[in-house]
Symmetry: C2
Subunit: 347 residues, 2 copies
């Protein structure tokens, strides 16, 4: 079981370079000629040399690891987000420790496990954070950023989009286009994303004194979205437009409308989703959907975390990004879409 | 910047428990009463105590981290796989360091970065491995398992499914059902999954002296699968059945067939995919597809890795799991499907 300890000096001798060149070959972003680096790596491979980032991190107090906590990587919105985080973090020489919050597990249960590994920072995409745990992270000097989530009065940064504003804007769009009875398919009910989208949508309907919205729950899944759409048509008044709190449910709703309900979209019923996942642009669906500026949100989150890691005095960040409308074929829209100046037309 | 060092003794005193209870509260799987653990965690939170897994790993030579390398987490097959790995590894107290191989990056570039973090084992889902790098891992005592991939003559384990056998079986199924001209939509051409599925399919067509297959490339994406299906119908002989090397391309092909090509599925053209992703069961598609026993493959991979971590003399593993057919509505099949005894009918 004893592993022979090959040192960086052995590698330097074998490669015919300085020990500092060996060190630079293993430092992300360090300046070193490509040919030299290749010589070092070949010598390392030959001798079985492997530098130890763990031992290094005990001295530097930087692990170069960022922890990411997700809850639902099967919903296609999150793999796309994770993909962007991984690409951008790896490009900058950071490693990713990924944690999944399973149902019933709170972030307060999971965070200590990440912190044990001395991650330099944490991104939470899944859930909120207690103020005790946020304080614990702050005391350890580990910055935390909530992605697409926010919590009031907690020592954590938040990069979020304007979910309430989006809900309001969708209500305006659908009412301005002449729809009479709006319906809403809710996601998982206690999530902040669902609560905010629903609050914006329903409160705007009330403000405009339109008919109260009909509502069913789709739990952010295709199957439940499909069933929720069927239920919306079991009793009158049936909706002539449905806003779904995410795209996966909207795709289920589209299949229910065109399939067993034999309704035309958008002639009989308009459907608008949220997230603009790639399946929404598939020819079989062509769903009109709310698009978050995900790439920019990921970049903002990473920039801010790195800034706080390097300078702990950096103030907390709370951004509320505006969203866009990806216009396809599933909804009747008002003629003067130009009024909604934050919308952008896509494909 | 100095972080106060709170020790496990401070926490034990605060919680009114022994120091060994504090230690057990932070050891995954250790025996400790729930009430005691809660007392310890509350005291730790109050004092700002955080155990250091990194320092511990330098002593124990176990980091409890497993590295996973993926290439394509946007294709919905891989998030489902990652989800299973995360759940099963976390349940056993392991942490996951996730790496993404971007285009042009070989596993030989990435592995040293994982090894720097002293991961206990590595799962590679994306690509093959040079024999030099496999030897390097073996020398360090870090077991490597290829998931859904294999490489001959390399010191790594492999948990794979029978892609060649699946290709042969699909050719048999389609020819036995009376199809005359088979088509194939290929994935990324240099991947082992695509090569094996194609080899099995085309060689079986030849053996049975059926008409040579028509072939287009769909690069494992929806858009390219859609375009590949259009190209298959630009020249005769046009196919009356298409086997797609993954489901995402098959969904694109279905939309091209039913949309611009105005063909009926399966009356005019049968379509069979591979992977059985969740979108294939959506009512708008109902794709017949090859299903891998993913849950079992993930479990086998983890069991084997852990066994090799605990006992380095454990021999390498090479499994070739048989696959199943998820029968839905997109393909005409022979009457006596019972002949294909490895197939299993689903929903």
């Amino acid at each position: 079981m004893a592993r022979e300890r090959v040192t960086s000096f052995d590698v330097a001798r074998e490669a015919g370079v300085s020990q500092s060149a060996v060190s630079r070959a293993y430092t992300p972003g360090a300046s070193i000629a490509k040919a030299t680096k290749e010589k070092v790596l070949a010598a390392a491979l030959k001798l079985g040399y492997q530098p130890n980032a763990i031992a290094r991190s005990l001295i530097s107090r930087r692990s170069n690891m960022i922890g990411i906590v997700m809850a639902d990587i099967v919903n296609p919105f999150y793999p796309a987000v994770l993909d962007m985080f991984l690409r951008q973090l790896q490009e900058r020489g950071h490693r990713v420790m990924l944690f999944m919050a399973t149902r019933g597990q709170t972030i307060d249960d999971l965070l200590p496990q990440l912190l044990e590994y001395q991650v330099d920072g944490v991104v939470i995409t899944s859930s909120t954070l207690s103020s005790e745990m946020a304080e614990h992270c702050a005391r350890l000097g580990t910055p935390v950023a909530l992605f697409n989530r926010y919590v009031a009065n907690v020592e954590a940064s938040s990069v979020c989009c304007d979910n309430i504003g989006a809900g309001r804007a969708v209500a305006d769009l659908l009412l301005d286009a002449g729809h009479q009875q709006l319906g809403y398919i809710a996601g998982i009910e206690n999530t902040s994303t669902n609560k905010d989208r629903e609050y914006g949508f329903s409160s705007r309907i009330e403000e405009r004194r339109a008919k109260p919205m009909r509502r069913e729950v789709g739990n952010y899944t295709y199957e439940d979205g499909y069933q929720a759409a069927l239920r919306l048509f079991e009793a009158s008044p049936t909706p002539d437009a449905i806003f779904c709190a995410n795209d996966i449910m909207a795709l289920g709703a589209l299949d229910a409308l065109r399939g067993p309900l034999k309704l035309r979209v958008p002639e009989d019923v308009s459907v608008i989703g949220f997230d603009d996942i790639s399946a929404s642009s598939w020819q079989g669906y062509r769903l009109t959907s709310i698009r978050l500026p995900v790439e920019r949100m990921v970049e903002t989150t990473i920039n801010h975390l790195i800034e706080r890691i390097e300078n702990p005095d950096t103030p907390l960040l709370a951004t509320l990004e505006s969203i866009e409308l990806a216009i396809r074929d599933s909804a009747r829209l008002p003629e003067h879409i130009g009024l909604y100046h934050t919308w952008e037309k896509v494909d």
